[in-house]
Symmetry: C2
Subunit: 220 residues, 2 copies
Amino acid sequence: MAIGASLPGLEKKSLREQALAALRRAITSGELRQGQHLVETELSEMLGISRGTLREALRQLEQEGLASAGPRGRLSVRHLDPKEIRDIFAVRGVLESLAARTLIEQPRRAKAVGELRDALENMDEASGRSLEDRIEADLDFHRLLCRLSGNETLLHQWQSLEGSIRMSIMFAGLERATSNMSVDRHRDIVDAIESGDAVTARETILAHMESASNNLVSED
Amino acid sequence: MAIGASLPGLEKKSLREQALAALRRAITSGELRQGQHLVETELSEMLGISRGTLREALRQLEQEGLASAGPRGRLSVRHLDPKEIRDIFAVRGVLESLAARTLIEQPRRAKAVGELRDALENMDEASGRSLEDRIEADLDFHRLLCRLSGNETLLHQWQSLEGSIRMSIMFAGLERATSNMSVDRHRDIVDAIESGDAVTARETILAHMESASNNLVSED
DNA sequence: CATATCATGAGTGTCAACGATTGTCGGATG
DNA sequence: CATCCGACAATCGTTGACACTCATGATATG
């Protein structure tokens, strides 16, 4: 049997993780609207999994801030108001600033800078494609920054915000999101890291995040 | 009707939350040792709850970083090495710095400063009591700082580190932990916030965290 | 008509028991 | 001694059931 050849992927994740990914996607894509009530029995049927397994996924979803619990454990898709978006981006800003600072303190950061430039490259290529691709490339860059810091806790915390970040972008609508994905602004960050200037790196990132959240919640 | 006055509290938490709290406590108190394998059937029996309910709690524990999954989903109590402790405290540092900065930017921060001074008071009183009480008072102070920032995301992220922080202190042993709980050093933070000096506040907090993690992992 | 009471339904919390899969360990066997 | 085999352990996931709580609407009562 010509095994393996056609096996699409060894990506055998547990059902719980698949369910979690599906739910994340459904929320950040707007398929499930903000405030919408998440009914265990419905969802477990839709996803074709048992309630128990689904509940495990929901717990995680809750901790990622994509769902919030009302009275009596009723979960609904979290609603993000402008203040919360600003708050999320403020936290994100300090996390990524720390990543930059950590990276700068590492003597051999040339390789990391190279990888970041590759990520910039990807963003550039994606700029012609769909908005989703661009968002993906953008988040890839920022996630990579955190990963390269070598601080697992930092990466983990950033990732636990990732869903909320996606939701914020969703919430903002597509035009406003676009202005945050300029390659140039991201290049400034990499330049600052490469030059070893921690203060500038930090200020660049914080400014980037502040303007990003301003764009996302602007009222026009 | 003078009811309720004496009603101690209808704080009926779900079994899942109680289990989670019990597990947290067991880990941060050292009752469950680092690296120890967490067997679902054993734990569910010990806690007197079903496996399903326990599993939900375990997922949460995992996301808090108190347990880590080995191959094929086997969970064990997370092992923290010195680098991880430093990493945790670095993240904690930037989170609390953000809290301080946010607090400073609020025009009416006098009340918050008052509450922080109360917390200092508590730390002072606790300094004569058991080490656990002092740890509690210390963490209360830092958690309060995050809460007063009004940034729910920030508070949430901090709390998701709280278990790891407790573990770090555990891991360090009791003597080394003590030196991190000086009231004076904490007063410096409050003073900086009160004076509205964001830069000093940030530097004070980061220095505090760096020296704290140094103390915790020092090799003597 | 207004109000109090009750039946019903939806949804979550929790449990118990089961099957499937996979890794582990102790032997029996050549 | 190496290897294969079988029992065991443990997790993943499922199913089905029951209790509890709350909202809702119907009904009975004044």
